[in-house]
């Protein structure tokens, strides 16, 4: 199983690159608004979880410690979303 992490890390890297480029495109296009914010937050959560799992090695770690990082991501992105939502209203 260890050996199998080789392509994994690379694929993860590729996904991260694509999501980053997508973020950049959204930024350059000047897109904004609730939908875009939601998409970006989703992308942050996905990227963060990928880094945690594939790079930090969290997917092999006992769930309570893993959940600290995942929980951090969810709380931070969730509350950022809430803050942006209150900014709209």
């Amino acid at each position: 199983m260890r050996a199998k992490t080789f392509p994994n890390a690379f694929v993860v890297w590729l996904i991260l690159v694509l999501l980053t480029v997508a973020t950049w495109v959204i930024g350059e296009a000047g897109l904004g608004g609730p939908l875009v914010v939601a998409v970006l937050l989703l992308s942050i959560t996905l990227k963060g979880q990928l880094v945690a799992d594939a790079f930090m090695g969290m997917r092999d770690v006992s769930s309570s410690w893993r959940w600290v990082v995942s929980g951090w991501l969810l709380i931070v992105t969730g509350l950022i979303g809430l803050a942006y939502w209150t900014g709209v209203h």
Partner: protein, 208 residues
């Protein structure tokens, strides 16, 4: 399965066919002390991000107006640099698990050099802002932009120091396939620096 979805939700079919891996559930990689530090840092950054988001909620126009003047391209390139650097750190850990100390040291050196690229790009960005006379006291948006990026910038420098020390130790043969906690410790810290930037870049540079 592996190629399509990198996060293993279920044990791999091949893995079941072959003798099971020695331990499916691992401990946190590296020294537990660094994880106390990592979690503490995540907490600080998390609170800082939320402070940004809620401060923005009260000043939406101001934040939107000044956000567009940030250098998104440099920010995006720096994101790519950091995730690539993180990948190098992953490779370094894989190398030392195989016992390939020289290779581990090389991957670490490449990670540090990528960090150097980040630092240079960031310095150019800071210099540009300095030239425009933008400081922490210009307005709330720039206060957050400079505070968050500078605070993160210092973490990159710190990570480079840590990884360099680990690289030198690896080069000198201090680590082996059975004893390499130091490499995992340094890499874990470096991934945290990456993780934080992954939130920071879209939040401060793009999201509005």
């Amino acid at each position: 399965m592996n190629v399509l979805w990198p996060v293993q939700l279920q044990p791999d079919v091949n893995a079941i066919a072959t003798p099971p891996a020695p331990r499916r559930v691992r401990d946190l990689p590296g020294d537990f002390a660094i994880w106390i530090f990592i979690y503490a840092e995540l907490l600080v950054f998390g609170v800082f991000f939320l402070a940004y988001a809620f401060a923005r909620a009260g000043n939406v126009e101001l934040f939107n107006e000044h956000q567009q003047f940030l250098d998104r391209t440099t920010g995006a390139v720096n994101t790519l640099v950091l995730i690539t650097s993180s990948l190098f750190a992953v490779r370094a850990v894989e190398a030392i698990r195989r016992g390939a100390a020289a290779s581990c040291s090389r991957w670490l050196a490449m990670a540090v050099m990528s960090g150097g690229v980040f630092v240079v790009l960031k310095l150019i960005e800071f210099a540009d802002k300095q030239e425009q006379g933008i400081t922490l006291s210009t307005n709330t948006f720039y206060m957050f932009y400079l505070s968050l990026t500078f605070f993160h910038f210092m973490h990159v420098l710190m990570g480079m120091v840590i990884l360099s020390a680990v690289a030198v130790k690896a080069y000198r043969g201090a680590y082996s396939a059975s004893r390499h906690t130091g490499v995992e410790t340094g890499a874990s810290y470096w991934h945290m620096v990456d993780l934080v930037w992954i939130v920071l870049f879209p939040l401060v540079y793009v999201m509005h």
